[in-house]
Amino acid sequence: MTTTALKPRTAPAAGTPVPARRKRSWRSYSVYAGLALIFIYCLSPFYWMIVSSLRRTADIFDNSPLPAPFSVENYVKVFDGSTMFGQALLNSLIVAGVTTVAALVMGIFAAYAISRLNFRFKSVILGVIIATSMFPGISVVVPLLRFFSDIGWINTYQAMIVPNLSFAIPLAVWNLTTFMKSLPFDLEEAAMIDGCTKWQAFRKVLLPLAAPGVFTTAILTFIHSWNEFIIALSMVNDPQVQTATVAISKFTGATEFQAPFGEQMAAGVIVTVPLVIMVLFFQRRIVEGLTAGAGK
């Protein structure tokens, strides 16, 4: 990102008699006002979730912008065992983690083949792989649900991981291919001239260079799998194997008659916080990954 790209692009309309300095300050105010609006738009719902989660059950319907009195009651309740929320978080971690690793391993090989080797139907194969990412989840779930119940896979991790690959693999292949294509071939060529085999050139030259791309892909795949809902909802009904997104959608609370909003918000915050931390740390990489196809 160069500074020239950041210059404000509004032109002073030709022939306006307004002094330049006053005009600039007016304009920068409006820019800041716009940015503040964006900021509020993006964060206020999320802020409201955090605030609500920190209220006591008794004053959950308060509309004050800060929780008063401040209470972690809801967080304690979320983990008190009756909901198995801790187990659900662990399940999410396992499912999303295994999906990410599997998609990355297959994605790296496929992306290498597509970006470095010459073979027939290359663009067709890439096109088909990308097209599969457009496949609606329900069209995968309905037939596989039946197949998995026949082979006794219902309520297992693999019943979620395998269908998850239907969106994780295209995502990984697409991201890694774009990234590897952007790396120069010269270095590998030089290594091979110096006596490296193709495999060594891949492992010792390309892979270290591609590490940032692999990392970005890993984050994106993990976030997508962590957020997955319809597959986990359909393939599993045992709370012992349920993932966190499904678990909180079924949160009805242990004792109360009314929907336990405080606990729901607390659980929502817990599920989202790992992602928000990732976003804060790796925002640049995530944006690069998301816009890989766009910034051409």
Partner: protein, 305 residues
């Protein structure tokens, strides 16, 4: 070599995409029927019914439910994608002019994107409670999460909140590669802000925007989590095709569930084809690659001269 490297990917995709597709088409031609067999026992079996499941899409009660889900899906897709595009474009324009606080802004814009849809459904359900913050702020007493128009509005608001920043981010990336000289030239020629927007920015981000809109549309067509959590399953005013198919398979009516799934797949495929073939969305980057190669060749030819 290439075949060896690609085979794991293609094998898995065959299992999770090709097999389900064929199986769905196959199952959609059958129907589970229970009756008494010759010995008077209750027997459950599947019988081949041909296209009956598809005919049922248009007649009777099931037909009404399907057409309702179909029009809900289309309505949500059109309204949310339209709003997202306009809002996303505005977000990108605003961010493009920011110098300071850019990283901070980018992180905050990623938050709605990162929130799991199921959680965002829960969050908006809380905001849209009858005595929740939304009604307090606008001073109304609307039942947002019951049936009716209000629930549609609730779904649209929640969906747009989550996805407009995503479009903004993609469009911003497209805007940042527009060289500043182009704008300078336009300014010298006396073009104002609106003209620069209409004649430079929009045409140049169009390819990016087209791909972003395509991906958003395909995503909106399979909308499931948000209405499911925000309003609930089986609610007429927000039931989408995905929810309908899910509900049918939950009732073990795999035949009709598969028929819905096949129809949704065809719908998605048709939209994708229109975008790629008619509007020329450059999804795989193939077009871009061809142009880049051409430019490269020209450069090399000039260098050797």
């Amino acid at each position: 070599m290439a075949a060896l490297l690609l085979s794991p990917t293609l094998l898995v995709l065959a299992l999770v995409i090709v097999y389900p597709l064929i199986s769905a088409v196959h199952q959609s031609l059958y129907r589970t029927e229970s009756g008494l067999d010759a010995n008077g026992f209750v027997a459950e079996g599947e019988s081949f019914v041909g296209l009956a499941n598809y005919v049922d899409l248009f007649v009777g009660d099931s037909g009404e439910r399907f057409l309702n889900a179909f029009s809900n899906t289309t309505f949500f897709t059109v309204t949310t994608v339209l709003l997202e595009t306009v809002l996303g474009l505005a977000l990108a324009l605003a961010m493009n002019r920011a110098f300071r606080g850019r990283a901070f802004l980018r992180a905050s814009i990623l938050v709605p994107w990162a929130v799991p849809t199921a959680v965002s459904g829960l969050l908006w359900r809380w905001i849209f409670q009858s005595d929740g913050i939304a009604n307090t702020l606008i001073g109304s007493e609307i039942l947002w999460t019951a049936e009716g128009v209000a629930s549609k509005v609730a779904v649209i608001v929640a969906e747009v909140w989550k996805t407009a920043p995503f479009i903004g981010l993609l469009v911003l990336a497209g805007m940042q590669v527009i060289p500043e000289e182009v704008y300078e030239a336009a300014r010298i020629d006396g073009a104002g802000w609106w003209r620069q927007l209409a004649y430079i920015t929009l045409p140049l981000v169009k390819p990016t925007l087209l791909v972003a809109v395509l991906f958003r549309m395909l995503d909106a067509l399979r909308m499931f989590d948000l209405p499911f959590v925000l309003i609930g399953p089986g609610k007429e005013s927000v039931e989408t095709l995905s929810m309908l198919a899910w509900d049918e398979s939950n009732q073990l009516r795999y035949g009709s569930a598969s028929a819905f799934a096949v129809v949704l797949f065809l719908y998605v495929a048709a939209v994708a084809i229109v975008f790629v073939k008619v509007l020329g969305a450059d999804v795989t980057g193939a077009k871009h690659l061809r142009l880049a190669r051409k430019a490269n060749r020209i450069q090399k030819a000039e260098a050797t001269r």
